[in-house]
Symmetry: C2
Subunit: 385 residues, 2 copies
C-alpha cells in the first residue's frame, strides 16, 4: 500500500559502525500539514528543540531521521548540528530549511558526525522513492529486531494511513502531544490543528500506555503528516470520528509492536484495571503493576504470581478497599476478599493478561509491557545504548 505524495529513503551514512542503514528521509514535495508530540523528559534531544518552533507553522515538506546517535545532552553544539544538517538537506531539495523537521535516536551525549552525514545527503535524496518505506523503517531502528509498519485504509472515506515506528529500549513514553519514534502519514486533508487534536485524542491510550523498562527517553517523538492528496477533509463530523478511530488503531498496533520487540522481551503483559474511581487511579495502578520488576520477572518465568501483583497494587494511592479488590490472571480468579483463591499456575505464553477490579468506580485503563529477562540485562550492561 502506498500513501500518495510521500517519498521515502533509508541509507547507511556512517553513524553506526556496522553497515546498516542509519539515515532516513520522508519527503512530501507538495508539503503536508503536520503536528507532533514530544517527550516530557526535561532534558530534550536537540531535534526537539529544533522542531518545536518550526512546527508552529503547521506545515512541513521533509523529516530527516538518524539512528545510532540521540543528539541529546549535546548542548548548543548539538542544536547547531541539527540545524546545519536540515539546512544542507533543504538546499539540496531546494526548499526552505523551515520546512524540514528532524528526529534522532541512539546513544545520549555524543556529537553527530555531521561531515560524514552531510556528504551522504545527496545520495539519500537520490534514493527517494514511493516504494522505499522499508528502507526508511530500517534506517530508524536501534536495538529493534524488526521493522514496525502498519497501514490502514478507511474504505468508506478513501483515506489511507501509514504508520512507522521504532523502539525497543528506554521505552516508557510520556508525550504531552515519545527513544520511541513514530510517524503517521496520511493522504487525508486536515489542518495542523486537526492533527494536534487527533494526537491529543489518541496518544494517551496508545503510546503513553506502554512500557518496556520504565525509562522515559529524552528523544521520544511522534509526528503526524497529512498531505491532503485524497481530497477528503477529516476536520469535522463523521469523517473526523472515522479518521481518529483509524489513527488510534494504527497507533495502538505500533505501540504493541514496540512492546513485543522490547529489549529482551519474550512475552507481552497486558494489565487492565477496571472499577477505578478515576481514570488517573486506573492509569496509576496499571502503570505501577506493569513496571514492577517482580511482576515482570515472574511472567518471564511464566508464573502467575498474583502475590507480587497485590504487593505492587498496595504501593499505589488509588482509591480501593483491599478486601473488595479482585485480581485475575489469564482468566483465573486469584485474589478476592483479601486472600488468595487459587494455586499458582506456571505456563509460558506469548501474552499474559492481568485484570484488576478495584470495585471503586467505573473508570478503566490498559497498559502493555514486556517481561524482564536476562537478555534485557545483557543488552543494557554490555552495550552502549
Amino acid at each position: 500500500m502506498n500513501v500518495n505524495g510521500f517519498y521515502f529513503a533509508g541509507i547507511h551514512s556512517g553513524i553506526k559502525d556496522n553497515a546498516s542503514r542509519d539515515l532516513g528521509l520522508i519527503y512530501a514535495p507538495d508539503g503536508a500539514a503536520c503536528a507532533a508530540a514530544f517527550t516530557v523528559n526535561r532534558f530534550k534531544a536537540s531535534h526537539i528543540l529544533l522542531d518545536v518552533p518550526r512546527l508552529r507553522r503547521g506545515r512541513c515538506r521533509a523529516v530527516l531521521v538518524n539512528s545510532g546517535n540521540a543528539n541529546a545532552c549535546t548542548g548548543k553544539e548539538g542544536l547547531e548540528d541539527a540545524r546545519r544538517l536540515t539546512a544542507v538537506l533543504a538546499r539540496e531539495l531546494e526548499i526552505s530549511a523551515q520546512d524540514v523537521l528532524m528526529a534522532s535516536t541512539g546513544l545520549i551525549g555524543q556529537r553527530l558526525p555531521v561531515k560524514k552525514i552531510e556528504k551522504r545527503i545527496p545520495v539519500l535524496i537520490r534514493s527517494l522513492s514511493r516504494l522505499r518505506v522499508e528502507h526508511f523503517a530500517e534506517a530508524i531502528m536501534t536495538t529493534d529486531h524488526f521493522m514496525k509498519i502498519r497501514e490502514v485504509e478507511i474504505s468508506s472515506l478513501g483515506v489511507k494511513i501509514l504508520g512507522l515506528a521504532k523502539g525497543a529500549g528506554m521505552i516508557h513514553p510520556h508525550m504531552s502531544t515519545a527513544t520511541m519514534l513514530a510517524f503517521l502519514l496520511t493522504d487525508a486533508e486536515a489542518t495542523h490543528l486537526d492533527l494536534r487534536s487527533v494526537i491529543d485524542a489518541v496518544v494517551d491510550e496508545t503510546f503513553n500506555s506502554i512500557s518496556v523498562d520504565g525509562q522515559m527517553s529524552t528523544n521520544d517523538s511522534f509526528f503526524v503528516l497529512a498531505n491532503g492528496k485524497s481530497g477528503v477533509k477529516v476536520s469535522t463530523g463523521k469523517e473526523m470520528a472515522l479518521f481518529q478511530s483509524a489513527v488510534k488503531d494504527v497507533c495502538a498496533s505500533l505501540a504493541e509492536l514496540i512492546v513485543r520487540d522490547g529489549e529482551g522481551a519474550t512475552c507481552v503483559i497486558e494489565v487492565e484495571v477496571r472499577g477505578a474511581r478515576t481514570r488517573v487511579d486506573a492509569q496509576n495502578v496499571a502503570r505501577t503493576i506493569a513496571t514492577s520488576a517482580l511482576v515482570k520477572t515472574a511472567f518471564h518465568g511464566g508464573e502467575e504470581n498474583w502475590g507480587r501483583i497485590v504487593q505492587a497494587l498496595g504501593t499505589t494511592r488509588a482509591s480501593f478497599r483491599p478486601e473488595k479488590v479482585k485480581i485475575y490472571v489469564n482468566g483465573r480468579l486469584y485474589f478476592s476478599e483479601g486472600k488468595g483463591r487459587s494455586t499458582l499456575r506456571r505456563k509460558r505464553r506469548e501474552k499474559h493478561r492481568v485484570v484488576i477490579d478495584l470495585a471503586a468506580g467505573a473508570a478503566s485503563a490498559r497498559f502493555l509491557t514486556s517481561d524482564l529477562s536476562e537478555q534485557y540485562v545483557r543488552i543494557n550492561a554490555e552495550h552502549l545504548t
Copy 2:
C-alpha cells in the same frame, strides 16, 4: 558482644522445605520498652495487623519470627494463625499473649503450617540462649546470602546496641516508622515514646533510603526493644543525641548490608543529590536514579553511563535548570552546562558513586541501591519468592 537481658533462638520448624532454620525468637524475660515501624503498603501482612494493637502498650517480652512464608494476603485466617502461634508461645513462656509480637517473611499468599510450628515451639524455647544471636539471624533469612548483624557500644554511656536484619529482594522500604525485617536490641533505658521518636529520626535516612528492586513489601518491619538493663536513661539531652546517633549508625550499616546482599547484586550504587531546593526534591531525584533499570544495568556492566543518569533525572519534577546541573560518577565530571564533558569509563567496582548537583538550593539526600543483573532475573523468574 552481648546485650544484657536478651535471649535468642533459631530452629528449623518445617516451613522451609530444606532443613534450614526458619523460626526465630527474641526473648526479654523482664520485658522491654518497644516501638516498631511497618510498611506503608496497603496490603499488610498478618503479623503487622497483630502487632499494631499490641504495640500500643509500649512494652513486650518476646518477638516470634518466621521465614519462608510471609503470611500476607491470607485474610482473617492468616491473622488467626498468627494469634494462635503467639498464644502458644505465651503459654509455654508463662507470659501474656499481649507481650508477644510476631514478624513473617517469605512467599505471599500461603497459610502458615501452624500445627508443624506449634509442635516445635517448646524446642524453640528450650534452645533460648544469650549466645544464639546467629541462630536467630539465620532463621530470619530468605534469599539472603549472609547474616546481617551489627553491634555498637556507646562507651561514654555504657550502653550497647545490637542490630539484626534480613532482606535481599522486594526491597524498597517505606515505613511510616521494610520484606526487610530489622531488630534493634539495647540495654538502654527508654520509654516506647522515646523509641518511637528515635525510629522517626533515623528510618528516613537509613532503611527508607535503600532499594534493591523498587518493590515495597507487604511485610517490611523494624522493631526496637530497650530493656533498660544498663540503667542508663537515654530519654533526654546528650544521652538521647548519642543514643540516636549510634542507632542511626547501626541502621545505616544494616541497610547497606541489605543492599550489598541484594538479589543478584554484584555492586552497590550510591546516589548522592546535592544542591536541591528541598529535601523532598533531593529524595525524589536520588530515588528515581537509583531505581532506573538502565542506570542499574549500566553499572552492572561497570559502565559510567551518565546519559542514562541524565535521562532519569529529566523525568523528575524536582526544581532545577538543566544547564546548571552537574553530574559526577566516581569522581569524574561527566555533565555540566547541558552537555557531556568526558568520555565514558568502564570499570567494575564494588561500589559506584553518583553525585548530582542540582544547583537549586541547599538540600541533599543519599540513596543506596544494587545493580540489576541476569542473576536477579533468574532468582525471580525461576523461584517462588
